[in-house]
Symmetry: C2
């Protein structure tokens, strides 16, 4: 059998860094959302680009699927092994290779997490801004084109990856991009691999753009009478050009879940969590203007803080919100939606979604990176209930359809994986076939993370 021949070859290559233990296979067959258990046949733990290349070559020879793995925090089943094969766990490639403080860039191995990088950067006056919530690996964040709370100010991984080292499906190793701030030297291969979800190759080094730590940071929580008021406040601020660093919507159901989970005391109303970065004067000016806009839209109870501990508590709470929501229904699993619409349509999208959720009978608290027009309904379902699954999937499908009708996208930041495959044709039409053609050109045997992102070929 081809997979078992590959495993034999990899055993010789990696020794005990090729694992077939039940616990390892179990862990690498799970995701954080509703997908069924789909374990690989083995897990490889390479420690260098050269070793990844050897692993890929061995798998290519034996026609064995290859699934890259970072921290396993993706939400669309990206790292599952629906066709078996070898999961390449990159967690042992966790070295921060270089930090060029003068050029504000750093090169890391893919297993370095965003928090680890920021710890390394602490004394440089720099930080890496992209923050999807989970302490994800930078390789995984690159592969899924992650973003999160700070994208409204600093952009997504698309904007913050300058260059990559990639092991291709045939084991060739390429470098993409440079450390220059811009380039017109041919096709943007860096951009092509960012968001390619392991389907075109395995990312083994990443050069990231860094940001200077702002002189001042000010953050606040503000309750609103209605979701519409909160969203209209955001829309007004964005359209006025106020440079928010983060602006997050937490709806009433999410606020109550957070209270129960982490002992917070949010009033039972929708909230915005906002943060400004800049000079002392700019931050003060922006916060004041935003405060006025909020009050105009039914905001209340505004308290600004520039203390680090207040801020850390605030964002810890936000980042725990997904787990708080999951915990709010015992034994539940989640279908996490991720639509993103033009900002002018955000209020419509949110309110129609809330009505739709209410009518469906499914519990679905909403969290949103609303400055980008991006929000998530966390649809809680009993994993043993087929009818809940069907109802929730239909709800998620209507959300996607609504986003597309508004000029938006089916996934703002979570990626396609297995979970969004069914919506790709509707979003891209013939362009999805073009993605398939690119895939076929770079991975003709379809071994790189099969069953994800591209049109099914069999």
């Amino acid at each position: 059998m081809s997979i078992s021949s590959a495993i034999d070859a990899l055993s010789s290559l990696l020794g005990d860094r090729l694992s077939r233990s039940k616990s390892d296979l179990d862990i690498h067959g799970q995701s954080e959302t509703h997908f069924a258990h789909m374990p690989p046949d083995a897990v490889a733990y390479p420690t260098s680009t050269a070793e990844v290349a050897e692993v890929v070559k061995a798998c290519a020879v034996h026609n064995c699927p290859i699934i890259p793995w970072g921290t396993g925090t993706s939400l669309e089943g990206h790292s599952l092994a629906p066709r078996g094969g070898v999961t390449v766990d990159l967690s042992r490639m966790e070295t921060v290779l270089t930090i060029n403080a003068a050029d504000m860039d750093a090169t890391v191995q893919p297993g370095v997490t965003r928090e680890t990088l920021n710890t390394h950067l602490r004394d440089t006056g720099l930080f890496f801004p992209v923050d999807p919530g989970a302490n994800a690996s930078l390789g995984g964040m690159t592969a899924t084109r992650a973003s999160g709370t700070t994208a409204v100010r600093y952009g997504t991984m698309r904007d913050n990856v300058m260059g990559l080292t990639v092991v291709l499906a045939d084991g060739r190793v390429i470098q993409t991009g440079t450390r220059a701030r811009k380039s017109s030297a041919g096709y943007d291969l860096t951009g092509l691999f960012v968001g390619s979800e392991g389907t075109l190759g395995i990312i083994t080094e990443i050069t990231l753009r860094l940001q200077g730590q702002p002189q001042a940071i000010s953050s606040a929580i503000c309750g609103f009478d209605t979701v519409a008021g909160a969203v209209d406040a955001v829309i007004t601020a964005i359209q006025m050009g106020i440079q928010v660093a983060r602006v997050e919507l937490v709806d009433t159901a999410s606020a109550l879940a957070v209270n129960a989970y982490s002992g917070a005391d949010f009033p039972a109303c929708p909230h915005l969590l906002v943060e400004f970065h800049g000079s002392d004067t700019a931050v003060t000016e922006d916060a004041a203007t935003f405060g006025e806009i909020a009050v105009d839209h039914g905001g209340h109870g505004f308290e600004w803080s520039s203390k680090t501990e207040d801020r850390n508590r605030l964002w810890k709470m936000r980042h725990d919100a997904y787990y708080a929501i999951l915990a709010s229904r015992k034994g539940a699993t989640a279908i996490v939606t991720d639509v993103c619409v033009p900002i002018s349509r955000l209020a419509d999208a949110l309110l129609e979604t809330q009505t739709d959720i209410a009518q469906s009978g499914i519990t679905g608290p909403i969290l949103g990176h609303v400055g980008d027009g991006n929000f998530h309904a966390i649809l809680l379902i009993d994993p043993t209930s087929l009818s809940e699954m069907v109802t929730a999937k239909a709800l998620a499908a209507r959300m996607s359809k609504r986003a597309l009708a508004m000029g938006g996208t089916i996934t703002g930041e979570h990626g396609v994986g297995m979970g969004k495959l069914n919506y790709m044709q509707a979003e891209h039409g013939e362009a999805w076939a073009v993605m398939g053609a690119i895939k076929a050109a770079l991975d003709p045997n379809g071994l790189m993370n099969p069953g994800k992102l591209i049109p099914p070929t069999n």
Copy 2:
């Protein structure tokens, strides 16, 4: 002959919008730099996406090369017809299709120039920031991943194109991207076509991100004792996180050429042209800080102005600098270099280049978008002198090699075209072959703008 059959088919399709007049062929066989005359066999003037698709299909049937044309202002021979064929001149597709002021985006046809778009936007409070100098078409700017004076603040075309309509090599029409601010829905095809130089398809619609017109703009010219001082001032400002909107280096030779061409009165020294955008307080604060940095590095004669007419004069002068330099040697043509390096290496790159130019005997004034680490030496040569051409090309090759050794790129913004082909292997290695594989997947017969960007196949 295949090209003549294509032309017959296109004549039926387009009537007098297919031109074979000598003047039309001549115009479309020229570039603004040193390339030889390479006219197409015919010029097509389609007026819609559907018509472009018909043109491409007819050419595909008859195996006829297709060369897209915007305004012909590219600098690397992108729009020449080295293998003949049909030039698709998109200048009649010049409609601004939609402006979504609330979402700060606009969709245009490819023949709309950046100045035309900004004229349309005048009453909206918005503007399109990318400014390569020439009043280029937005289609051409997209296809070459153009940038220019404002990229240091607003990014390049990579950062400002949200979505595209593209006619592929087989005549299929695809849409890429959405109007949402971010998406993780599969491969970034928008990013792949931005900078693809017409080699993967013809761009027929572009959705662009717009910016709010800043509350305040302040600009200034400042002389420096030395280029090193000017560059060190820029590096310090960038590293301190001061948000310049533009920062341009004009070296002594360029300043003198501008004086002669447009009656300016620059002192005979290097200059920085800088501009800040933002709130009144931010602009005042940034300008003051920048002024102090400049003085510390030998800057003098600083005068700030927030008057529109002063600013327009300043940037008109900067944009005319290329023509001023060309005019400074009668009958000369130019080899325009375009390296971009990490900011920490910019002073080294510039000073080594100046020494190299001085030793070569070639006249080569330097202009730079120095906030990005990007600069151009305009190497003036007698087009009839083979020895000058050889010397200048060797100089340009050394500049590229130096940029690569410093972690930079052979082209910051002009693209590859025909002029940078010889350096692509050095910059990309095996990744250049990957570009060739993508090209082969999307244009297997190699008809889309042949002889540009990708590795030669015959």
